[in-house]
């Protein structure tokens, strides 16, 4: 019987079927952020052992400072780092520490090192673990309690989600990125549309996307409420993986590719829900509110609250300091953040640098570029992207999560307006009272150099 990618991933990982659609599943990769030191310490206090330390990989990302030289890392950030180091040593976990060339945001680091493989099951106590689904891996975020369960047993108990396919039809217009496509999808379907589902993204638009673009797409699966985002692996996936340090080598490589070729969704496979979204008319997107579904194409008016009793549109616009029905174009901004597990990879930085080249960050705008990993920052520096950003007046920082969630004390001040390439525009996400507009790296760079929310397609960009 034809099966979906998700069905195949699920079946491969079932150790035991339990009651009510639940199963005990094997975990192949457990990524650990710097919040994980605390969880590992708790594991030790409970007298439990890490079952398979060789399948765990840690890198500090959330709590470390991203100023050059890591200067200004908070006292708590340093404590988290010390905890992570101690626990990684105690439990025998591979740690890509701050001075390691492999350090990075875990969802950038994992694929970069070739740890995330098609057909693998990946978990991390971080909701954006779904990023890894771009490789045809079953990847999802877990809580602190589940972290302990995975650590002690190398398994997770999960109720089988239903399956949804989002078919992206048409071709992206020039200047429209994977970020724009996914923000449009979320705006169209809403942030709860994926609740209870494993969502596979498919269609001609996906086949045209690079692995980095696919990661941006799957990264935002959780923002439409999905358990995980998935993309069937293809030649682009395998070519991307081949040179990566932890990818299989020699005979194993050939066996692995043969195995991975059986993973894509079979023709005729049935999904519980199938949706088609036409993307050829999608414009660069920008969020106006306090939920990723509060999004419009640049130049479009933001909505007028039509009531419904919950005042969410009105409350969001009040928080954001916006008038119902206004356009965002031309709105002055104070901060720009280019980074996060959504948009901090080399192609993201190239897109932003293409806009920044030969221009200057507007007066009174603070603009940061925070690469997703040390490898990204080295590659960008080799191409001279850091120079372009610095010459334009951007701050070129050390890899980490930084202002995306402000866990390391790096915040957008209250009342200030930021254009951010991250994933959440929740109330206070980037700092208490901060106002966040989510957009693509090119749109963020355009806002930085004009000091206003700007349609990047109106700026001339030299190839």
């Amino acid at each position: 019987m034809p099966a979906t990618l998700f069905d195949k991933l699920w079946t491969r990982h079932v150790i035991e079927s339990l009651d009510d659609g639940f199963a005990l599943l094997h975990v192949d990769r457990h990524y650990i952020t710097d919040a994980g030191g605390q969880h590992l310490a708790a594991l030790h206090r409970r007298g439990l052992r890490l079952r398979n330390p060789e399948l765990c990989f840690a890198s500090p990302d959330h709590a470390i400072g991203t100023a050059p030289g890591r200067i200004g890392t908070t006292e708590h950030g340093l404590r988290y780092l010390a905890d992570l180091r101690r626990e990684a040593r105690r439990h025998g976990i591979t740690l890509f520490d701050v001075d390691d060339e492999r350090q990075g945001i875990v969802h950038v680091m994992g694929p970069e090192q070739g740890l995330t493989l098609p057909g693998s099951l990946v978990v991390c106590a971080d909701s954006h673990t779904c990023t890894n689904g771009a490789y045809g891996a079953l990847a999802f975020g877990i809580g602190a309690s589940q972290f302990l369960h995975v650590a002690a047993t190398q398994t997770i108990v999960l109720q089988k989600p239903r399956t949804m396919r989002v078919w992206l039809d048409g071709r992206r217009a020039t200047g429209v990125t994977a970020k724009d496509v996914m923000l449009y999808v979320i705006g169209h379907l809403g942030t709860a549309a994926g609740n209870g589902y494993a969502v596979e993204y498919a269609g001609p638009a996906i086949r045209d996307m690079t692995m980095e673009e696919r990661m941006t797409l799957c990264n935002l699966a959780v923002e439409m409420g999905a358990r995980c985002g998935l993309i069937s692996p293809d030649d682009a996936t395998f070519e991307d993986l081949r040179p990566r340090p932890y990818a299989p080598k020699g005979d194993d490589w050939h066996r692995a590719v043969a195995d991975w070729r059986a993973l894509p969704t079979d023709p005729g496979a049935r999904f519980d829900v199938e949706l088609t979204i036409e993307i050829s008319e999608v414009a660069p997107q920008i969020t106006w509110g306090t939920s990723p579904q509060h999004v419009v194409g640049i130049g479009q008016a933001i909505p007028v609250d039509v009531g419904g009793g919950r005042n969410t549109v009105e409350a969001a616009q009040a928080y954001m300091g916006l008038r119902p029905g206004q356009s965002l174009e031309g709105l002055p901004i104070d901060y720009v953040f280019i980074g996060s597990c959504t948009n901090s990879r080399l192609s993201d930085l190239r897109a932003a640098a293409a806009v920044a080249r030969g221009r200057r960050v507007a007066p009174d705008v603070t603009a940061w570029v925070v690469p997703g990993s040390r490898a990204v920052s080295r590659a960008a520096e080799a191409e001279g992207l850091d120079r372009i950003f610095r010459d334009a007046g951007f701050e070129w920082r050390e890899p980490g999560c930084s202002m995306c969630l402000a866990a390391n004390g790096e915040t957008v001040p209250a009342g200030k307006r930021a254009v951010s390439t991250s994933n959440r525009n929740f109330v206070g996400r980037q700092g208490p009272g901060a106002r966040t507009h989510l957009a693509s790296p090119a749109m963020a760079a355009a806002a930085a150099v004009t000091g206003r929310i700007t349609d990047v397609r109106q700026l001339s960009i030299l190839p």
Partner: protein, 209 residues
């Protein structure tokens, strides 16, 4: 795991959709070493407190009639966003033992069970009716929850049934330690790993850099 069997308590209506995890607990207390049991003071801070830090007297949990609330009756997609289990610890710290909503963020939903907090999904129109009754207070402001029978008693006495995954329900009723339960299956886990090591050795990282 904490046990949950029955609960009869004051329920606070919070008719907001998409209350996200950052709204339930901000990141600062989680990353500055505030002990788990003290997170309640920070729960729902953006809604509970005014910018100057004083309590907002209009917010439902600050009103005297809901001061002893143990149940929240809220909008769809409650707890969407981050995987931070601190969101559940913070609500528990406020004394909340159950949350009723048309739907929940998935990771939050699971995190609730891990901490003995019961998330109950009910149809949106039923949730709205409960919120109305709780706000009006004509029949009081209390709900009854019986997990054994999977029944919720509305203020007006109507008995509503709800569904909870059987596995989760049993774990809550018996206060099971999920790690200990899985560790009993370790022979199966080892057998699975032996088989997969043969079949797909690369998943076990046989080629290292």
């Amino acid at each position: 795991m904490n046990r949950f069997t029955t609960l009869h308590g004051t329920a606070a209506p919070l008719p907001l959709d998409n209350v996200d995890t950052d709204m339930i607990i901000r990141v600062e207390p989680l990353f500055s070493g505030v002990p788990r049991e003290q997170l309640g003071a920070h729960a729902l801070a953006a809604l509970r407190y005014r910018p100057d830090g004083s309590a907002d007297p209009d917010f439902v949990l600050n009103r005297p009639e809901y001061a002893d609330a143990t149940i929240l009756v809220t909008g769809s997609n409650f707890g969407c966003g981050s995987s931070r289990e601190g969101a559940v610890w913070a609500l528990a710290g406020l004394g909340i033992r159950a949350v009723v909503a048309p739907g929940f963020g998935e990771i939050f939903f699971n995190n609730c069970f891990e901490n003995g907090l019961l998330p109950i999904r009910l149809a949106a129109n039923i949730v709205r009716r409960l919120q109305r009754q709780l706000a009006e207070g004509l029949h009081g402001r209390r709900l009854g929850i019986d997990l054994e029978r999977c029944e919720l008693t509305a203020p007006d006495g109507e008995v509503l049934s709800f569904a909870v995954p059987r596995l989760k329900r049993e774990a809550l009723l018996e206060g099971l330690d999920s790690i200990a339960v899985t560790q009993k299956r370790d022979a199966r886990i080892a057998a699975y790993q032996d088989r997969e090591r043969q079949r797909r050795p690369w998943l076990f990282l046989v080629s290292k850099p």
